[in-house]
Symmetry: C2
Subunit: 198 residues, 2 copies
């Protein structure tokens, strides 16, 4: 067996990660091989561990080791507010900024006719169920300020209207065309605190 095949396969897989190309993948792999015990093997072990244990929260679609994620399990987070985000990365951005004390609902994308993503591909019916089940009084639509994001927010708002729940969207501070995951904490805080009724 020729071990350089494994190295090439490893470079090839690394090069497919967002933000890496063939050249940076080669550098990363050499770096890892040089730091075998402190980087390469721990990374292999953690990836295996995460791959075997992490799944999707049945309630909010956050990542979780159990059926229900710690945020959904925490009674402290049951403050009557649900923040709807497109992606787990957006939930992470909110949590890093520490500006929101309620629970989340991860749609898992946006409506996108071009990509053949319709309402059934997103996590919307479950959101409607949660309004009553968790005594929710406000749903904050924290979707990206993109066309797809705002189309999706509009659709979700329409779907939830019959429940009578309060609806708001992030407002001031979000740059046009901007994406949530790129905002600094201060901008995110301003956008949240000056949210406007939908």
């Amino acid at each position: 067996m020729d071990g350089t095949r494994d190295i090439e396969a490893l470079i090839d897989l690394m090069a497919r990660l967002p933000g890496l190309g063939p050249r940076s993948a080669r550098r990363a792999v050499l770096h890892l091989i040089k730091k075998r015990d402190s980087r390469l093997l721990p990374l292999a072990q953690l990836m295996d561990e995460v791959g075997r244990t992490i799944r999707t929260c049945l309630n909010c679609a956050n990542l979780s080791t159990g059926d229900i994620c710690p945020i959904c399990l925490s009674e402290k987070r049951a403050n009557g507010q649900i923040c709807v985000v497109e992606d787990v990365a957006d939930l992470w951005a909110m949590e890093r900024a520490q500006v929101f004390q309620g629970r989340y609902h991860v749609l898992g994308g946006t409506l996108s006719p071009l990509d053949d993503i319709g309402p059934d591909d997103l996590h919307i019916p479950k959101l409607r169920d949660r309004i009553a089940a968790e005594n929710v009084r406000e749903v904050i639509l924290a979707l990206n300020a993109t066309v797809d994001g705002q189309t999706t927010a509009h659709y979700v708002a329409q779907e939830l209207a019959p429940t009578g729940v309060g609806l708001s969207g992030l407002a001031q501070g979000m740059p046009v065309g901007g994406e949530l995951d790129y905002l600094d904490d201060g901008t995110l805080r301003a956008a949240l605190s000056s949210r406007k009724p939908y």
Copy 2:
């Protein structure tokens, strides 16, 4: 156990790779989790495999699964030429360009008084032994066109002078301050074919 700890640890390790930062590491990890079976678990398995099997060729310091790498084992590569490079990445660059048919010698760095790297930290004595053992008639010093690279080339040339072996260095086509691993194949080919006696 809270699985988000593992995810955070994974992001942290990924963020230490050259070319990645915290933000791109988060995106990469989310991407991997979403492609658990096609990306995350295969990557974990390959990293483990590479970590357990890859070592350094005892002859040339190339990466290898055996004590001696395939290039050193191949009689076809015993053409009397050894190409001295700083790093395995440079050897890869030469092999990709397919411009050299001889064997390599990987120094594993450059002389660098500031970083406390002296001749004993590099792979130089072994190179002298190889001149006689492998009937070498030409050593091509393919080191980076940096101050450290050229200082190292000068030192290696002095060390090898008593053996009477022919010495050359990559010439035309290498930009001043440039690094081997960044060159396109054509430039590398030109630099090799117009190499000048040292």
